[in-house]
Subunit: 767 residues, 2 copies
Amino acid sequence: MTMSASTLGTEVPQLSARAKVSGRAVYAGDVKLPGMLHGKVLRSPYPHARIVSIDTSAARALPGVKAVLTGDDAPDTLWGVHKKERAVLAKGVVRFAGEEVAAVAATSDEIARDALDLIQIEYEELPAIFTPDEALDEEAPGVHPGRNNIAHEIRFERGSVEAGFAEADLIHEATYSTHAQYPGYLEPMATVAALDGDGRLQVWTSTQSVFLARGRIATVLGLPVSRVRVMQAMTGGGFGGKIVEDDNQLVCGLLALKTGKPVRLVNNRLEDFLATPSSVPERITLKLGMKRDGRIVAKDVRIVAECGAYAGLSPEVMHVSAMRSDNMHRLQHVRSHATLVYTHTPPHGAFRGFGGTQMLFALNSHIDTMARELGLDPVAVHKLNAMQAGDTSVHGWKIGSTGLRECLDQCTKAMDWHTRRARSAAGQTGVKRRGVGVAAAMHVSGNRTMGNWDGSTVVLRLNEDGRAVVLSGECDMGQGAATMLAQVVAHELNIPLAHVHVAPPDTDTSPFAIGTLASRVTMSGGNAALVAGRKAKAQLFDVAAGLLGCEAEQLEIADCQVRVIGEPTRAKPLGDVVRQHIWRHGGEGLQVSGSWDPQTQMFDPATLMGNIAAAYSFAAQVVEVEVDTETGQVSVVDSFVSDDCGKAFNPLAIHGQSNGATAQAFGWALYEQLQVEGGRIANGNFADYNMPTADAIPLLRGGLVESNDPNGPLGAKGASETAILPGAPAIANAVFDAVGVRITDLPITPEKVLAALRAQRPESQHA
Amino acid sequence: MTMSASTLGTEVPQLSARAKVSGRAVYAGDVKLPGMLHGKVLRSPYPHARIVSIDTSAARALPGVKAVLTGDDAPDTLWGVHKKERAVLAKGVVRFAGEEVAAVAATSDEIARDALDLIQIEYEELPAIFTPDEALDEEAPGVHPGRNNIAHEIRFERGSVEAGFAEADLIHEATYSTHAQYPGYLEPMATVAALDGDGRLQVWTSTQSVFLARGRIATVLGLPVSRVRVMQAMTGGGFGGKIVEDDNQLVCGLLALKTGKPVRLVNNRLEDFLATPSSVPERITLKLGMKRDGRIVAKDVRIVAECGAYAGLSPEVMHVSAMRSDNMHRLQHVRSHATLVYTHTPPHGAFRGFGGTQMLFALNSHIDTMARELGLDPVAVHKLNAMQAGDTSVHGWKIGSTGLRECLDQCTKAMDWHTRRARSAAGQTGVKRRGVGVAAAMHVSGNRTMGNWDGSTVVLRLNEDGRAVVLSGECDMGQGAATMLAQVVAHELNIPLAHVHVAPPDTDTSPFAIGTLASRVTMSGGNAALVAGRKAKAQLFDVAAGLLGCEAEQLEIADCQVRVIGEPTRAKPLGDVVRQHIWRHGGEGLQVSGSWDPQTQMFDPATLMGNIAAAYSFAAQVVEVEVDTETGQVSVVDSFVSDDCGKAFNPLAIHGQSNGATAQAFGWALYEQLQVEGGRIANGNFADYNMPTADAIPLLRGGLVESNDPNGPLGAKGASETAILPGAPAIANAVFDAVGVRITDLPITPEKVLAALRAQRPESQHA
């Protein structure tokens, strides 16, 4: 009997698990090179100031100091995804507290730190803008000279929103505020840069994209991309913060170029808080029109988002907030006006969920409110409006698959939705009251935005032992990309997962790749791996057919052999076939390249219409909270998130991602908040910045929905990002369910809950 | 006007030149890893002994010692190219003085050395065999138990040698002795081995073949090849000694596996003398029959060669000695009987020239002698007998091109052959007498011996700046393979050489390759690069035709642009075309794979017939010597070597190789000699082992002959090895020309010359 070696659908530990738990994993900060220097960065203490003078002489004189660089030493080329506006080291002006002003390389970390203290800088403090409202004042000076403070603006209308509202039985408008969340990965940003023998700049770094990093480093440092080699070190989390918005790689590369020595630059946690983009705070005013039966007939959105001092990826994030959730429901009449605003605060940018979290907090809160008003179950409202497979959305998105209804059914069933909701609705009188809330979400699997390609290439090599090596430029930051690629290849070749090695991304040897963002890697990388696996199998069968005297169509791979189907003794070990592929006239090593690019359509810059992703993924979540009416404390006591991942290649990894996303959502909803006081981050450490720890999180439950996407590799879609989206609104809705107060301003702190509870009481009950 | 960017035919410095002169090149010994241990090897002081006991307790107890391994810790799998007969660490018996008996890994090199001193070994010395004659004695014990001392034997006869001799006007027989030469590369053998996070064994090493190294390390250490990754560090010379006959990689890998730590094992010079195969000493009895006009009508060869304690590659070397020179001349009747013999001496093996040097010393000496006897110019004899393009040799070799006659003409003209020879022939009477000698040689460009493939694959990637990355598994040890590959690609794409980066061989990312041996890389790797370059160009033109609105056939590459031929303004920068190749529907990074395998034929194991190489290269050399008749000292005062390299891609590199080869030949002929006393190498250092230094070498001259081989890439053949072949016999012939004595026993020491001069004088003149 033929046993399948495939692990698809089974729970497998990630390929890097052993390296990580054994301490053998080499993170960028673990890279040690002979003669390596240690870098340190001096940051602005002021949110806005003119640099009057910098005296580096004392720092330079310190023994062991090899370089002290300032803005004068930095390239003139500015960087930034959306706008090129940020210098590697500030030139003349600093625009946020934390901005990189000087950099040191020294023979030890301690000397480098001491040298920072010896740099004398005279600043002239300038008036700073800390809020979007101040920034949008017509009198406000521009954060960037010669420009107003609007970094980006999006406007569109589909159908007629006014006509839609005219049809509505209920119209509701409210404003929601969301705040910045620090990505909180375990590994702060880290880079080692060194010139190779030929003077090329080699960079080992913590990154989500080696090729985007290479392009940016080369451009900014004035090198052709071929003179830069970027290698992904083991990466301890990214969550969007390690795409292309860090200055760490650029400063480190500059120090290496200037000193000619290897330089290691590892952020400590405070530096990482200061330097890494946090998520984009948005104030969302949402107006929704609904028919009595729950059908949404009009949607009008106004967003004011804040990017901080530099735009980074915030315009793209806001674009998502302004549009993506429109595609979850069958809408006709929608309008958005979104404005991104500069302030003198640390930059915001990409973050897991990428703008979806913000808008879905508003939308799910709103639907909950309106459903209650209409006496409807919000679950029914979501299901009534939900897009179906085969639908094209108001923005032109083609929904190939959706498991949203199944997700809603699954999580509500698992959470006894009707029972628990009935209980809440029946009224509770104790100090601690419970409530349940639901939220629905959608995300993309890939995103045709950058250039006009969203493809991926996998090079697959078979060795003479019949095992495989996979070369891909898509990065694994811990979410499981490498394991996924290996699973797909192992499945296609029907070989054990342990027989597939995935080489870490390296711009010299990996095929070109966009990297890991927009939940694109399972979709594009997985499909490319499938193509490569099939090509390799065809080559194996071609050679084996000759060896076994049969047709290629008669062959299968099983038990690490190529054999004739139905005649298991007519077989050749895979390794023999690979060797024969080489050792013959006209032979060569068995190496194939598989590429895949989705048949998607970039959005039209004028109309913003287009089918941007190969697939769309969905999720729904129910949470139960307990609210202490005396303290205002909200505790999540139960949670079930359902993830429509298309096809679950590795349920263990998906649950891991869903759990992590859920915890991160809970942190955003309840605990985490960057304390920015006078433009300065005041809690840039894990003691004061409260990420939820185990005692704040109940045993997280979750389930998978397999909607088998027609474009996905064997049906799969992106799975790692969607699950962060519904957590916060589900909590807000549960809080309302428990105690009848609607918190529209995240995070949901005890103070806000208490204040709302007080406001809710009749006048006479006030103390 | 279109300027060609090609450097083919021009003198370009090697790509690694800057890295080497700036000290930035990373040789294996320069690789530093965190927690790296230092390895040391304890070697047998006896040529033959039983290991009675080993006490490692004191060594293990030394603080800082992390492992002390002996034969008991070594794998049972034995290694060796021809016969698997050698243990990583000796098991019970040592068979040569220098054999690896124990290995230590410690936290410093000093501690490791101290630990060696603490290992207590009791040996029982056993009778040792030091010469082939002793070994071939029927009573002699077997160096390897249960076998006689014949490691390998070759016999063949083509035509009828007896009939040939019957036709001869002159028959001459003589015996020649050649000795072992140490490869003398600047970088002794070095390896760093470490487990990666996943427990795979990573090896940085000085090697001529990463894939042969990987296969051997995996097999011997009991790992699947996919669990081993071999990366070529910058390599400081190989000369055949770094193919697959070292124990360094295996010991280092074993230490890393046993300790779980990175281990660095770098031979010091003495260790390298003891551990590295030197060239195979052969005693050659040659009988040649010649017609009066110089035509060779019969050749009979008997060879007794010595491999030392382990056969290694010596069987293949002897095979070459027995056959290859037969293909230089139009012969009909040839016979060989070659016997390879074990002795208790350090192993011999591959060495630049690979058996050709030994036999060509005999043959050229012989032809010189017989030509004199017949009153002929040896140059005329070579030319008369020389194979012509289109000929098939007596062994089935198809000579696609030969520049041998042109080489002879070139070097004799450059050296004023007739004038100087006439002078010598006229007689000289001073103490210092001058003479000239000539020799001719042939070599292979590739060799279909291993498995049945002699091909190569080049992966070529174009980056978004229009520059190229070449991935090849063929190794550059300094001879210029990387520069050659870059030149071919740059030529084909018509881009500057500096725009091509050749990544160092790495078994995880480079296409499978045999590696650098048998002068095969220009032939197979160069052709593969050509195929890859053409494929890449086709893809560029395909995309550019769309951009420029023309047919692909109308396009050319010039000035880093793709442009319409004859319309230089209709052009796109290469980088734009590459970007467009990616950023489009169905796009992908521009990466192609080019493979090439020659249409050669492996020799039949029974008949030894076959056309083994895609091309054959030729050389001729004239040297002038001055012989001091009072001291016997021979000095080379002038030399001109002509190299038929097919097509000279980089005359600078070829001259460098020719000069190096000439110096190495002079060393072998006159200076270098391993002093093996009682089986022990007595001069394993550069003070006592006399490689020729600058004052022993005249200004070396040389020239190129371009015979444009039909199979070669753009006509080229292997160029680096042939030039070592004619040096020694040319000197021997020049010595005869100067003073009339025939030295048949290398090296040509003053003692031998003096003794021969004395023997030459009439009885009365003796002192």
